[in-house]
């Protein structure tokens, strides 16, 4: 248990949201799904624990340089049987420790054999234990399509990791993995999902295929790609395969790491900035080159969040009048979120907005004040002042002793 959960901690995804609604009020099964996830605990690394995230085994025949379980690593190995995983999931679930299971695995013997064991666990949970909680299966791209098809019918979400931002990096650091194969598997999942949404000629709906969609994970900082490359890949993945999420995982030092890797760890801030940029691309109507074009080397500024960086570079567009500006422009104001913008638009119909009204709507005026005007507030020279940039910069910090 210790070994196999230890090995699973490098998977970033833990979401248990976005699936179909179901419950066990009929008394014949266990578990429910409300559509929004619940985080049952938080580890001191700040990440939530929603699913029981374990590896079926950490034996692996592949040699991916960034992975703690690669064949050339000297860590102790262990393996769960199918029944052990099922029992553990059910017992933890009954005590309200978890939302469900996130099952991943090292590859033993062959991709097909490993995948069929994982599918067997899901099948047992669903059909024998009548488990109606959340199941997330990490799919092995090289496995047979029939296995992936069955996995999709049993699990809520499938994920296939693209691992690294460029094909070249995958070939260098994960020699056994084939980027084309990974994309083909994602295409297969998307097509199956689309197919299951269409009614048949008799008007029946086929069984739902991976109702919570698919996601993927990219390791940041293990190769030399800049943020523009990483985000470019994400936009393509979102548009091509209808992914629900792309997870960014800052490469963190692993016990017994490979000599092919840089031993410098990328700042965790970088991962955070990538997520912020990802959100701006998906929900705020930003274009990729608007975000990455602010700095010259294509990396996001670590000191400012991408929206502030963009706003500082485009001060000519500000200040905006919150009482007249369009939704598109309001979304670009630092400190305004999607929800607050909807609130502003709804309230604008009844009254003219004042500075205090904005704070009541949940706007972070510390950020927004330089970029907006409202009744009773004008930033005057603040928008164009030379030290505005410095106001947003993080305070100087003493270097760590360690």
């Amino acid at each position: 248990m210790a070994i196999l959960s230890d090995a699973a901690k490098y998977d970033a995804s833990c979401a248990s949201s976005g699936s179909t609604k179901r419950d066990s009020r009929d008394g014949k099964g266990l578990g429910s799904n409300t559509g929004s996830g619940i985080c049952h605990a938080y580890a001191p690394d700040g990440r939530c624990i929603s699913l029981l995230k374990i590896l079926m085994t950490n034996f692996c025949i592949y040699d991916c340089a960034y992975c703690v379980n690669r064949v050339s690593s000297n860590i102790p190995r262990a393996r769960f049987t199918v029944d052990e995983v099922v029992k553990l999931t059910i017992e933890f679930y009954r005590r309200n420790y978890i939302e469900g299971l996130f099952l991943s695995s090292g590859i033993i013997r062959s991709p097909d054999i490993t995948m069929s064991d994982m599918v067997q666990i899901a099948r047992k949970l669903r059909h024998e234990e009548n488990f109606r909680g959340y199941i997330h299966l990490k799919t092995i791209p090289d496995a047979a399509p029939e296995l992936i098809a069955e996995a999709g019918l049993l699990a809520d979400r499938l994920s296939i990791n693209v691992e690294l931002p460029t094909d070249t990096a995958v070939t260098q650091l994960a020699p056994e993995k084939n980027p084309t194969q990974i994309r083909k598997a994602m295409a297969f999942v998307k097509l199956r999902k689309q197919g299951s949404a269409e009614k048949t000629y008799t008007g029946k709906r086929p069984p739902r295929f991976a109702p919570a969609g698919q996601s993927t994970q990219v390791i940041v900082g293990a190769d030399a790609s800049n943020d523009a490359t990483i985000l470019g890949q994400s936009t393509r993945l979102y548009s091509s395969y209808g992914l629900k999420r792309v997870y960014y995982s800052a490469f963190s030092p692993i016990p017994d790491s490979s000599k092919n890797l840089p031993l410098i760890r990328p700042p965790l801030k970088r991962e955070h900035r990538l997520y912020q940029a990802d959100w701006l691309l998906r929900f705020y109507g930003f274009e990729l080159d608007e975000i990455t074009g602010v700095t010259r080397d294509g990396n996001l500024d670590l000191d400012f969040d991408p929206k502030i960086a963009w706003a500082l570079a485009h001060r000519g567009l500000f200040p905006l009048d919150v009482n007249t500006a369009s939704r598109e422009m309001l979304l670009r104001v630092p400190g305004f979120g999607v929800k607050t913008v909807s609130r502003i638009l709804a309230t604008r119909r009844h009254r003219t907005l004042r500075y205090e009204d904005l704070t009541r709507m949940g706007v972070s005026m510390k950020k927004a004040r330089a970029f907006v005007t409202a009744v009773g507030w004008s930033p005057a020279g603040l928008t164009d002042s030379a030290d505005l940039r410095a106001k947003f910069a993080p305070p100087p910090e003493q270097m760590s002793l360690f």
Binding site: R25, D45, G46, R95, K184
Partner: protein, 476 residues
């Protein structure tokens, strides 16, 4: 002065009934004193007015708001709600006004209750209290909620744990789910619950899922406040995890890197022999095109889409490039343009199964836009690079006639993609003697807005298909 006393159980319905009666009797908020069972009664309390119809109509969103706010622990919650209800009578849009001060207080309270409910769903920890031979398992938990959230949250647990008995004991209200029936009772002091072996296992999991290289204590505490810790078994491990984290990271950095174990080489040798399954057709050409890196398009797409059809076809049909669906499915002409092509071909008496259908460029070129991919025309460089594959296909199929659809196909085959309208409709000859017919691309027809023009163009394509069909000898 009216005194309204709200019970601990069923508060939401009681408040609604009381508020309806008061508002119908036109009682202003200043004349009502609200309280729960704990609050003292006043000297001049009057009996509440009777509930008479017709009731005031309020927006549904107010009912939702009230159903949450009544569970807040603030003693003023009932009067605050009634105050807003009073104002709602002549300001119906109040609910959508995000800047109103009363409303923002209520919304803040609603948010607190929702958070408390959410944390209860997350942090209640059951212990097994059943006997080993029971058919229906039974569990119990002790929990201390901040607000009165047991009643509104209990249905969640009933839906989730439908096949077992459970009890949630709190100092406020307790919930019991026995044999599928949900009941509520008074609050109780903390009962002694038996030890549960699973808690040890869970703590082991908690200790190991933590990554010491990314210590973020503040992030953890903001989501899992310390007030909940005392009833959660895993939290006992937290101080130790935080204290030892920096040392563990230093240890990791010092230990790296190591020499791979002996078996690594052995396993890798086996892997090399294994190869990957799922690599498509055994045909050499299709394997080779899948690994094509002649231009940059391959990095962004799912797969290269090679042509399909009989290897000895006398007619070869060349389109532009795979589209969104073709790229996902790995087959040519299956998207909207492919569907139109099939229809036109049927009209012209052409059997698609007998022809070899392919594209001038084998990879999909696109612009990502949110959840969609917008088609982009391949440039001359990409067409030239991909000509290599088209030539290879021509060499294996050896068609008598090639039908080139659209300017990209014309460009690939003749080196000139312009003036399609003038050049279409007649049999041309390629350098190697193969006959060539040019025509419009089906997606060009799909984009035409004017129905008359589209009709003419469709007829042109039908004629061209028919011509190619006759030249190739497929048609009688």
């Amino acid at each position: 002065m009216y005194r309204m006393t709200m019970p601990m159980i069923g508060t939401a319905q009681s408040w609604r009934d009381a508020a309806r009666a008061l508002i119908n009797a036109n009682v202003p908020p200043a004349n009502v004193a609200w309280g729960d069972e704990a609050s003292a009664t006043g000297l001049w309390d009057a009996a509440p007015p009777p509930d008479v119809k017709p009731a005031l109509k309020v927006p549904r969103s107010f009912i939702t708001l009230a159903n949450s706010v009544v569970w807040h622990s603030d003693p003023t919650r009932f009067s605050m709600l009634y105050q807003v209800l009073w104002r709602l009578r002549d300001r119906p849009h109040l609910m959508t006004d995000r800047a109103d001060a009363d409303m923002s207080t209520l919304r803040r309270m609603e948010k607190n209750v929702h958070r408390c409910q959410h944390k209860m769903k997350a942090f209640v920890r059951f212990r097994d209290v059943g006997a080993p031979d029971d058919t229906r398992r039974s569990f119990a938990a002790w929990f201390e909620p901040t607000h009165h959230t047991v009643e509104p949250t209990a249905t969640f647990f009933a839906r989730r744990f439908g096949d077992m008995d459970w009890r949630i004991i709190t100092p406020d209200v307790s919930a019991f789910f026995i044999n599928g029936e949900l009941t509520y009772g008074e609050g109780q002091p903390k009962p002694p619950l038996p030890e549960d072996a699973c808690e040890q296992l869970w703590t082991t999991y908690f200790r190991n899922i933590f990554n010491p290289a990314r210590l973020k204590v503040k992030a953890m505490q903001s989501e899992m406040p310390k007030k909940y810790w005392k009833n959660m078994p895993e939290t006992a491990a937290i101080p130790d995890l935080i204290a030892t984290a920096p040392a563990r990271v230093r240890e990791m950095n010092r230990a790296a890197p190591t020499i791979p174990p002996l078996r690594a080489a052995k396993v890798q040798k086996q892997v090399a022999a294994l190869g990957t399954a799922w690599s498509g057709s055994p045909d050499e050409l299709s394997v080779a095109v899948a690994d094509c890196t002649r231009c940059d398009l391959h990095c962004n797409v799912t797969q290269a889409v090679l042509g399909e059809g009989p290897q000895d076809a006398s007619l070869m049909i060349v389109g532009e490039q795979p589209g969104d669906l073709e790229d996902l499915a790995g087959r040519p002409f299956v998207g909207p343009a492919g569907k139109l092509f099939d229809k036109l071909a049927r009209d012209a008496g052409l059997d698609r199964e007998k022809a070899y259908v392919t594209n001038a460029v084998k990879h999909f070129k696109f612009n990502p836009r949110g959840h969609r991919r917008i088609h982009q025309r391949p440039n001359i460089g990409e067409v030239t690079h991909c000509k290599w594959w088209l030539d290879a296909e021509c060499a294996t199929i050896k068609p008598k006639v090639i039908l080139a659809m659209g300017s990209t196909a014309a460009l690939a085959l003749t080196g000139n993609g312009s003036d399609l309208t003038l050049r279409r409709g007649e049999a041309l000859k390629l350098d190697d003697g193969t006959q060539l017919v040019l025509t419009f691309h089906p997606s060009f027809l799909l984009r035409m807005r004017d129905p008359d023009k589209r009709h003419t163009a469709e007829n042109d394509v039908r004629r061209d298909l028919d011509l190619a069909n006759r030249l190739s000898g497929l048609a009688p």
